[in-house]
Symmetry: C2
């Protein structure tokens, strides 16, 4: 039994493993052949050291260097597309097409290329110049960034290929990628692509390193190490909060995307106008990828009475008729069923599903639950338990006022949606509701399901705690996601020739800069 090496300082080296693990193919419920290491602290320590050395070497490098690496990396990934699709499918159970091949992999290289463009055009730096006092500032390198990827996006959020990774590199930082144990071989292939890109673009060997697993204790030690600049984490809330506590205590910026149930409010006029269409939209959104999305609509607020009953019945019929998707892992299924039991135990009624099975391999029946708003308001915390998977809870509210009251009791979420009648019949109710919901969610949608995160500048993939660790950042969309991984660097009376090029008087690259309060691409 040979143990896979780790990617340390530009080379694949044998792991000083304190243990091993294998991923499981969830469709056939059999272990994958490759054996991966649990890294010991001594090798994590060496990885951090190599990352810090790379950060030192790259101090002051122009964005174009990082753009070249990211662009080369995107090509190397595309060259391995078939291998990545086969492997991720086996490790995650996610469909090869359209999901992996036609959606997630293109999104992933697109994110990397957007990050490259941002590094190249320096827009993430927010160059700011006040000429009267000769004070200038921009964002610069933060230092080594640790990126923890989640189980549900083997490409687009992978610690070595996803949005946090690309953003951290674009900001001039080395990355220590921590792969997710559900898809280590997929992650290893990205590592091969990264090494090829590192070499072809002449980047420091420690720019990208990869470990697969650590003990809990070593994970906390890693994020609080003095040599670390910052952390990106996407995953379960409990682990994320432990990492946050450790990083916070050490004064390390940590950006977390933790959990979200993405409330959807159905106003009466919308249901009167297009109930069947809404039932279709909701079902597609909720069951896609076995519901394993951070933006899955896990809570739906409907009008009580005939309308809510009709929508519930329409969705229940669709849920019963649809096959269950294969889940990522047995742990995901058991967490899902446990959350369903918690919600039912608090007084919700099971409409359909609720048991394991219904599809291929590791799976659960498509699950719909319902509860009255009055009951929900008695135990708002329990009813907001995230059931990560192909299920949702419908809450029947007696009035738009009660919908707004429900919104006041929501935790922070990534998204919140309002469906309303298209000719204005719901506008008053929508206005009232929106004022409350706006404070609870990062992204507010109209007449649209929350799944599907467009990778554009104005996207906010973030939201108030506990959906994330801070309401001011987005994990998706440049340049904002890149700026997170920078430190603000001010130059006060620093001589012109010592300034970073982007802060010098001349601006040959036409970088957008804020000079004396006005945005411009001109010279000072």
């Amino acid at each position: 039994m040979s143990i896979q090496p780790i990617l340390f300082n530009g080379a694949w080296v044998p792991s000083q493993a304190s243990g091993t693990f294998q991923a499981v193919n969830p469709a056939v419920q059999q272990p994958m052949p490759q054996v991966f290491p649990v890294s010991s602290w001594s090798e994590i320590d060496a990885v951090i050291g190599a990352s810090a050395a790379a950060a030192r070497e790259m101090r002051g490098w122009p964005g174009s260097r990082f753009a070249e690496f990211l662009e080369a990396y995107a090509l190397e990934i595309e060259a391995r597309a078939d291998q990545l699709v086969e492997t991720a499918h086996a490790e995650t159970g996610l469909a090869k097409s359209p999901r992996l091949k036609d959606a997630e992999l293109p999104r992933t290289v697109n994110q990397i290329r957007q990050a490259a463009a941002t590094a190249r055009n320096e827009s993430w730096r927010v160059p700011t110049i006040d000429t009267a006092v000769n004070i200038r500032s921009m964002y610069g390198q933060l230092g080594p960034v640790v990126v923890f990827g989640p189980n549900n996006f083997p490409y687009a959020y992978n610690g070595i290929a996803g949005g946090d990774f690309a953003a951290a590199i674009a900001a001039g930082n080395p990355v220590i990628a921590k792969g997710h144990p559900c898809h280590p071989e997929t992650t290893r292939i990205f590592g091969e692509a990264a090494v090829a890109a590192l070499r072809s673009t002449g980047m420091p060997a420690g720019l990208v390193q990869l470990i697969y697993r650590t003990s809990h204790e070593d994970g906390l030690r890693l994020v609080s190490d003095p040599r670390i600049g910052g952390i990106g984490y996407t995953g379960a809330r409990q682990t994320g909060l432990r990492l946050k506590a450790a990083a916070d205590a050490a004064g390390k910026p940590i950006y977390l995307e933790l959990s979200s149930i993405n409330p959807v409010f159905m106003l009466p006029g919308a249901l009167a106008e297009r109930m069947e269409k809404i039932a279709d939209e909701f079902t597609a959104s909720c069951l896609m990828g076995a519901g394993q999305f951070c933006t899955n609509p896990g809570l739906v607020i409907v009008p009580s009475g005939a309308q809510g009953a009709a929508l519930t019945a329409a969705v229940a019929a669709r849920f019963s008729a649809a096959a269950s998707g294969t889940m990522l892992a047995e742990g995901v299924r058991s967490s899902f069923l446990k959350a369903v039991q918690a919600i039912l135990g608090a007084g919700a009624e099971l409409v359909t599903g609720g048991q394991a099975g219904g599809g291929v391999g590791v799976c659960c029946q498509n699950t719909l639950m319902q509860v009255s708003a009055a009951r929900f308001l008695q135990h708002p915390e329990v009813f907001q338990t995230e059931a990560f998977g192909n299920g949702s809870l419908f809450v029947h509210a007696d009035s738009p006022e009660q919908m707004a009251e429900l919104a006041e009791h929501l935790e922070g979420n990534l998204t919140g949606s309002i469906y309303s009648e298209t000719q204005g019949a719901d506008d008053a109710a929508c206005d009232r509701l929106e004022k409350v919901l706006r404070t609870k969610v990062g992204r507010l949608l109209n007449d649209k399901m929350p799944t599907g995160v467009a990778v554009v500048s104005a996207m906010n993939h973030g939201g108030p705690f506990p959906a994330t660790g801070h309401p001011g950042f987005t994990a998706v969309g440049v340049p904002g996601s890149v700026t997170r991984f920078g430190m603000l660097q001010c130059y006060d009376a620093v001589r012109q020739h010592r300034l970073p090029p982007v802060l010098q008087d001349r601006n040959p690259g036409g970088v957008w800069r804020r000079i004396n309060g006005q945005w411009t691409t001109a010279d000072v």
Copy 2:
């Protein structure tokens, strides 16, 4: 003995005090006549409730409303200038002129007016629009902000009048001001001005509230209350870190400015060129305001040998000749002397000063210490103890390489300065040093002392932990300081008439917006 009321929900109401305190005039070392309350949790709880109600009422309000309030407030402050100067002088021992009347008070109203302009022009919101997908985002109200002011700036950082206060209001948030116990009567006068401005501009009664003191336990409870949106804190490290731990655990953004010793590196060419001038500049910066500035130069790295000895002697002579300033409070003096003892105890040599006395009231001798770089590097943490007051530590380094090594061992600081010869003789040493120092400080200066914080857009009054809690923010300079107190709000497919005005297609106010990656003041 009557106890001063607190400012609760627009009115001065008797405090449900759990205790009382009086400030002390440090020049005469006598208690001030006014007696102030230590607020009990029940009244803090009511204050939070009123703040949350104000936040609810102001949801979606345009920036102009907050601009009007801030502008009215600036005028009300100016109308009370004489009273503020007399009172702050008595409570803090700071000179009436130029410090309080001609420097700090004008800076304070200038900060408030800059915040007002930022609220009015909406620039802090970073409005971002991607037209192809109809996704739009901006920063919006965060929620009630608690602002803790420090002892050393009775105006410019006051919880009810300083930079954090003005920034939080400009971002559309109510503020719960926690006055500093060293200058409560000054703070109360600001409260009178705030009430007048609240009334004249028709703002919610809970927009600005004021308490003077809490128990430690209630302070932690306040910053972690679910109704709180965020926190600004300027002050001592130990208290700040306790508040940070509580806020972090509750997922509340907290912006802290904690401590800084502001290293100044003197390169050989600079000293050969202009040693006497540098000694003058340093002495003025280090002794100004009895050294009670967060940007006070508390650590100076000089070349060892004759040059370093000459500068040390020149500064020692100036320190001995200058009168000691009155310190803010007995606690400041005892902390200063304790820090001096810690530094001497680790092996530094006392050059001059080191004892209480030397001026009027609470004061210490101007204090200069020195140590070799080799010794410093044996105990870098102890030698970086902040001695907040009129003192500094000179470190004698054997080479530019050793200066860079010292820089590698620095904690995060607000500022770092490099003095170099004007014709380029020090450029190689400066380049080497700058690469390291850049990663350790928020603001890098050339040939300039760090005291004096220009209130401009490009200023970074911030820096890496433990100087602050996060290397990406500045406490001074709009719009950045305002954006801290916002949450990122994204609108996905939201109907045009429901969008905030600043995100609608038309842009009659000419707000700077980033549309499809380009900054513009035009319509979509």
